[in-house]
Subunit: 214 residues, 2 copies
DNA sequence: CCGGATCCTCATTGATACTG
DNA sequence: CAGTATCAATGAGGATCCGG
């Protein structure tokens, strides 16, 4: 990216992360950990391979990621975030929190992946009853599976299926995510196609984090 | 901007704010308040007028700013942030905080303006002695003037000159900002050309805010 | 002068095909 | 699998022009 040429930390930050796809690549590396080229490509539907390749080189040159060749038997390179790259997590959190306001409208062609189902509760909710007993919530949206685990006052998430969930939320992505992030209530979520099975009393434990007032 | 086509709040947020110049326009409106076209252009050295015009229309269409025609005698339009636009402040703060790491190197051709001198201490420092007596620090960098006022446990800043500052910091931008944001110490700042006059004991009261650990 | 609109040129991005 | 090469389409940057 061409520099803005301004001695301002916002402009200089954007010089590095302002390019198209750059922050989404960082998102994937944050959510998935060290990844191979093809894994990144899968997590970034729509990216052209040449562009992904270019961005990875730029990110490496800027010190945000490191590229590690796997030991000889395997011919595959691993990309992972450096400390600088990892430090972008708060930036992504704030963008994601702000971006929630655009999640209510439906766009049938949007891609949807389990990682994006998983990070939302982990980043955008807290356990309102931190000393409460552990609980497990199964999420199912658009065929993608994720699990929320409330434990030790923290909201953990992981991909996949839980063995014995206390509550299961299944429905279109915006009904599940809208409910979890507090953008819509249970009635509306149900109208949008959500099915909630199990201990509905667990829902109030997920408290959406509020945006800081200005 | 072309949509990323992903049902993810980060991607959807970036659909709106990911275009070149967009976040810097928001920065100017946050720092300057309601502004006219020409004021924005002045605060955004390097932007082409057609691009600024295009972005303002896009921002208005996205609901981030409102455009208000001044009463008939004057033919000037005022742009200001809507609630949605204002809600981007935390995003800009995190980007700016992250971007501080790139401020240590010097690029002689970078533009520099007083607003950028002023927002850094206000956003990136806190008063380490919130119950201490009020104090006033004059900043001078590259001919740009700003004032820090420590009062009621808050770090206020404004542009211009203070009448009777307790401390004056004068030097190249990176020496002043590097010292204030904790990226360099007083010795190094002095080597970089900083002159500090007055109550140096006030410096420790400006505590750089730490980046959240991952 | 203010607030843009138009036009032109160059740089970036996107889609797809291809290679070690 | 992990990219590179190619080329078309889009976007940015810069200069100029125009109506109030």
């Amino acid at each position: 990216m061409r520099s803005y040429g301004q001695y301002c930390s916002i402009a200089r930050g954007l010089d590095v992360i302002g390019d198209r796809w750059t922050l989404l690549i960082v998102r994937e590396l944050l959510l998935q950990g060290p990844s191979r080229f093809t894994e990144l490509k899968r997590g970034l539907p729509g990216v052209a391979t040449n562009l992904l390749s270019t961005r990875l080189k730029e990110l490496e040159a800027a010190g945000l990621i490191t590229r590690e060749d796997a030991p000889p038997p395997i011919a595959t390179a691993l990309y992972q975030l450096s400390e600088s790259g990892h430090a972008l997590q708060p930036v992504l959190k704030e963008i994601g929190l702000w971006g929630l306001r655009f999640m209510v409208d439906e766009r049938p062609d949007d891609a949807f992946q389990a990682q994006w189902l998983a990070y939302a509760p982990a980043w955008f909710t807290t356990d309102a009853e931190p000393d409460g007993p552990p609980a497990v919530i199964q999420l199912v949206a658009d065929g993608e599976l994720a699990v929320i685990e409330l434990r030790n006052g923290r909201v953990h998430t992981r991909l996949g299926r839980a063995t014995d969930p206390d509550l299961t939320l299944e429905g279109p992505p915006r009904s599940v995510l809208g409910l979890l992030t507090g953008k819509i209530d249970l009635d509306l979520a149900t109208q949008l196609g959500l099915t909630a099975t199990g201990r509905l009393d667990l829902l109030p434990r997920l408290r959406p984090v509020a945006q800081q007032p200005a």
